[in-house]
């Protein structure tokens, strides 16, 4: 009984929700990337690898030039390059997008550790100092609001960026011609092509964007939340982001809600040593919840119609 009341007590603390939002953003960025890529018709299960690559190059750059903004830029570009490989392989070479995604993830896991070994030998890769990190930023005035101030306005700069991106992606996808085109390409590329839309260009753009977002998430993880690179530090977040994207039915805000649920679970666990259930059983929950959603118990969730199908001009 005390455990239940402890959790209830925890749920009304601003600390918990502040942590929830930060944890959710680490998932939100790759999930948004997934939404954009899959809305254009390219399956992307490679957010994990793109994020890990971003984290690695972000740290390497930050340690070399001591500038978190430059490092974040490099991380974003590194994620984008990995996504570019995925795009070329799946769009130009019409490869199986899932195989390509798996290959990206394996490649990222291998090449980052391989490069750590080649660049740093067995020396510690090093740690960024406080002012080499992406800073926290308290929004003047608003951060003094009771409860909401701490939850929403005392966060890392990347959190604000992610929330702006969330709204931006939603608006672009559902309120602009570009979004209409992306969705058309994902639902019915042949028709889109006949209507004069450049299917390839839209898909390249969408996939690369997913890599840029995942790279940003990697930078946030490595030089925002943390201050160094640890092999495999993304720890499956790309896959949880994939789950969140499906959970959210391929919409930005749906994915965000899923990320918040997963983030809340993480935050409750982190803030509470009273829960007696096995932490391992608790860790299963995001995946089981996703299966439940997929099973249609919480309404149907289906991908864009042309998701995963390479586009061949003139085919039907």
């Amino acid at each position: 009984m005390t455990a239940v009341s402890d959790i209830l007590h925890l749920l009304v603390t601003a600390n918990l929700w502040q942590a929830t939002l930060a944890a959710a953003v680490l998932l939100l960025l790759p999930a948004l990337g997934g939404v954009i890529s899959e809305r254009s018709g390219v399956v992307n299960i490679a957010m994990e690898g793109m994020m890990l690559t971003g984290a690695f190059f972000g740290v390497v750059t930050d340690l070399a030039w001591h500038n978190p903004w430059l490092a974040t830029g490099v991380a974003i570009i590194a994620g984008g390059i990995m996504a570019g490989v995925h795009a070329v392989v799946s769009i130009r070479f019409r490869a199986d997008q899932i195989v390509s995604g798996i290959a990206i993830n394996i490649f990222a896991a291998g090449i980052t550790v391989f490069l750590v070994n080649r660049i740093y030998g067995i020396q510690d890769i090093g740690h960024a100092t406080q002012n080499e990190l992406l800073p926290n930023f308290n929004v003047p005035g608003l951060d003094q609001l009771p409860f909401l101030g701490q939850v929403l306005f005392q966060q890392n700069v990347v959190v604000y960026a992610a929330l702006i991106l969330l709204v931006g992606v939603h608006i672009v996808l559902f309120r602009t011609r570009l979004g209409l085109r992306i969705r058309a390409v994902g639902e019915h590329p042949q028709a889109a092509d006949s209507a004069g839309i450049n299917v390839y260009l839209i898909r390249y753009g969408a996939v690369v964007t997913s890599g840029l977002l995942s790279g940003l998430a990697g930078a946030f993880l490595a030089i925002g939340v943390s201050n160094t690179f640890v092999p495999n530090m993304t720890d499956g977040r790309g896959y949880i982001a994939l789950a969140a994207m499906i959970f959210g039915k391929w919409t930005p805000f749906g994915a965000f809600i899923a990320c918040l649920i997963f983030g809340l679970g993480e935050a409750i666990y982190a803030n509470n040593s009273i829960i007696h259930a096995s932490p391992y059983l608790l860790s299963m929950l995001p995946y089981i919840l996703t299966l439940v959603v997929l099973a249609g118990l919480v309404g149907r969730s289906s991908p864009p119609a042309a998701d995963g199908i390479p586009y061949v001009p003139g085919s039907e």
Partner: protein, 386 residues
Amino acid sequence: MPLGSVVFAFIAGGLIVAATGGNPFSAYAGLICGGFGIGCTQGENPALQISNTIVFLTPLITTGVAVALPFRAGLFNIGAEGQLLAGSIACTAIGIKFSTLPTPILLPMVLVGGMVAGALWAGVAGVLKATVGAHEVVTTIMMNYVAQWLLRYLIIGGPLQLAAGTSKSLPIGPGARLATLLPADNSLIVFDLPASVYRVHTGLFIAIVAAAVFAFLLWRTTLGYEIRAVGQSQRAARYAGVSVRRTIIVTMLIAGAFSGLAGAVQIAGVDHNLTDKYFSDTTGFDAIAVALLGLGSAVGIVLASLLFGALHAGGSVMQSDAGISSNLVLVLQALILFSIAANFLGAIRQLIPGLRRPPSAPRPETPSAALMTEAAAAAPDVTPPK
């Protein structure tokens, strides 16, 4: 073509090694020594290297089959790893619970138990695909994670934990174990080393039988015909009177049984207990590359398993002999996957005038890509129940 993909990957990998200041030739010499016992410079024992490769390739064959069979039905089973873990968990639980039973009873029990557990694990994905059309890639990824966390729970604080503070289970009973080819005897010397260092076990034959069963099932049975029909076109299969829904579920169940068998054999033949080493197991993911590289044929899968088993075994010799991080093996695996998936070589051939195919020839597609395309295109046909 697959051979070309491997060559492409090794050339690209060699460039990466050279670009980072290593010597690709000594790296590959190390890989070949470690994988096949050929050309060793540091006195490595060839018989031991080959034995290690065989131990690594054994589960790859069975899980490779577990990925290849659903491919034929247009399904992508990324869940071989989770199914393998389910199989090894079931094998261990049964092998501990009935540890006093004799081999003729207990050994079939643990192997069948592993197959059932693997089948259930994959069956979830099959049923969700057949009933509500949930994409099996996503459901099997989720089931992989569920299996991973279940395993941790069971051996850290859960009912299978050996003792507080450990992360392993009790060993299975002697009756649940597969024999090794050579006696596990430290005093018997074979090829200059104690016989017990050669860990090749009879599970190798089970794996080869599994590959044969796969080929027979696919090409000599009605079910095999149905699987291939569904993979080629769900619509056409339905016109031909095949129940697409049933075929999808049955295919996943069989695939899961193969993976589960691989997990059970790994426990019964090599490890004899569940330990934390299964947290880092990657067999089920390597199996995807094996199935693709083997072009979905039984012989191809065995050969591809040989390559990946040798890469796994060779990595550590490469590191000690050439000083190249064994993580290069991961990079090579990824490059092989890219190369098969994208058919780079076909594209390169197109660029070279002398080799260009006649323009009317259809662009060669990889088997998986073609199958996936079909499967995805036919997906809307799987309507949810009313």
